[in-house]
């Protein structure tokens, strides 16, 4: 329960800070997606229904603060949770490099999916500059994930012990 509340607080605070405060003067590619990190953490480290329960509020925060078609971000976030859960069960290693690469791959996977959907709809084109910025966002968010996940998972282990 404690970890659920920590994840809820982290994703709420992170989203609130990014969308309502920093978004006016900090470019989007420098703002890490804390709700995304909370969902991936729930998938990687929290087993059972509690993990899914912990992933729902951040998924809802993403749904509310991204101007995508209705429920797209919510469902894609839950899909992300199940992918992270699968990775956790099949390949899990509690190491910095694993966390870094898993987060980066999941971020890229989500980004590529959205780009493909946008291209399918024909709604926008993506420039080389956009790709560069997105690369910075992926790298930055993945780097933040390492200390955050190590710290939180350590606490989670202590709580379960």
């Amino acid at each position: 329960m404690r970890l659920f509340l920590v994840l809820l607080a982290a994703s709420f605070t992170g989203t609130a800070l990014s969308v309502w405060w920093l978004s006016g003067f900090v470019p989007w590619f420098l703002l890490p997606d804390f709700s995304f990190l909370a969902i991936v953490f729930a998938g990687l480290f929290i087993p059972g229904p509690l993990g899914l329960l912990a992933a729902i509020p951040p998924a809802l925060f993403r749904e509310l603060t991204v101007s995508a078609p209705p429920w797209v971000l919510f469902l894609s976030s839950l899909s992300l949770y199940f992918l992270a859960r699968e990775v956790s069960l099949r390949l899990f290693l509690r190491a910095e490099s694993f966390i870094l690469s898993t987060t980066a791959v999941l971020l890229l996977l989500e980004s590529v999916s959205m780009v493909i959907l946008a291209l399918l709809v024909g709604s926008r084109s993506f420039s080389a500059l956009w790709v560069l910025k997105e690369g910075i966002r992926v790298a930055w968010t993945s780097l933040i994930a390492v200390p955050l996940f190590m710290d939180l998972s350590g606490r989670w282990q202590r709580v379960t012990e």
Binding site: V19, S23, A68, P70, S76, L78, G122, S123, R124
Partner: protein, 281 residues
């Protein structure tokens, strides 16, 4: 089969959800366009946050400009410094009020000039995702705002309302890939469709190579499609290239409004003549 499902159900769930996402993205059902109770209640948790942040932003801006910036003043004149700080804070505060007053007056005058019922709103947040471009304003369904309504400033168009909550609305910017509207070039009266490109500019579609469009031309909304009010400025043409092959020119238009710095907007409370769907017509 049962053991396969037991082993791989999470992966299957992820795939099924992605298929649902694809379907919702490509063909959003009309039934899901309205804000349901879940999203309506959920967005209420953010209301204290953006209201407080908006209040703090104005307070911090006033405090920074009027007090903190003065910490380098000589220490021996502590009393004087405090007095100056206090006075400057007042001046800064007055200046901020004056600037806000000017902006609001301009909005009011503009609102009267366009001859339609409008409601003023403050920008309280921006969409920070890499794929979409939007912002949030602090009026919602209670003020009569509905999806598809035009959002404008005296400087030019901003976009269209996408989702409406109580006390909050989401605006799709005119540079977002899903935005499209009928426009006219002010000088040569050439008509075209302006579409967001997802970057910082819009492109004009269906401008034939024989039509007269050059860099520097101002582009206005024509109002013919009923989505944006007639005569509102979209932006200025930055490039118009006539391709050797192809039927149409490649025209890029930079928006007249800086979306990062816009603080107040007007929502035109006229229902669009074409029912709004957050996709290209």
């Amino acid at each position: 089969m049962a053991s396969f499902l037991r082993k791989w159900w999470r992966l299957l769930a992820a795939v099924v959800l992605m298929i649902a996402v694809t379907q919702l993205f490509l063909r959003p059902p009309a039934a899901l366009q309205s804000v349901g109770p879940v999203r309506g209640y959920a967005v209420a948790v953010f209301r204290p946050v953006y209201a407080t942040v908006d209040f703090l932003k104005r307070g911090v801006s006033s405090l920074w400009g009027g007090y903190i910036a003065l910490t380098g003043v000589a220490r021996e004149n502590e009393e004087l410094r405090r007095e100056i700080a206090g006075l400057r804070e007042t001046i800064q505060s007055n200046r901020e009020d004056l600037l806000e007053n000017r902006r609001l007056k301009a909005l009011l005058g503009f609102s009267e000039a366009i001859g339609r019922r409008t409601v003023g709103a403050r920008v309280v947040g921006h969409d920070v995702s890499p794929w979409f471009q939007g912002l949030f304003i602090d009026v919602g369904g209670e003020a009569g705002v509905e999806p598809g309504m035009a959002v404008i400033t005296p400087g030019g168009g901003v976009g269209r309302i996408h989702k409406v909550y109580h006390g909050l609305s989401e605006v799709i910017l005119l540079t977002d890939g899903r935005f499209a509207a009928d426009v006219i070039v002010e000088r040569s009266r050439v008509r075209a469709i302006a579409e967001g490109t997802g970057g910082g500019v819009c492109s004009l579609k269906y401008v034939s190579p024989t039509q007269d469009v050059v860099a520097g031309d101002r582009v206005l909304f024509s109002g013919f499609d009923g989505s944006m009010p007639k005569g509102i400025l979209l932006g200025t043409v930055v490039s118009a290239q006539r391709p050797r092959e192809g039927l149409f020119q490649h025209v890029k238009v930079v928006s007249a409004v800086d979306f990062m710095s816009v603080e107040e907007v007007l929502v035109v409370l006229t229902r669009p003549s074409i029912p709004f769907r957050a996709e290209r017509p």
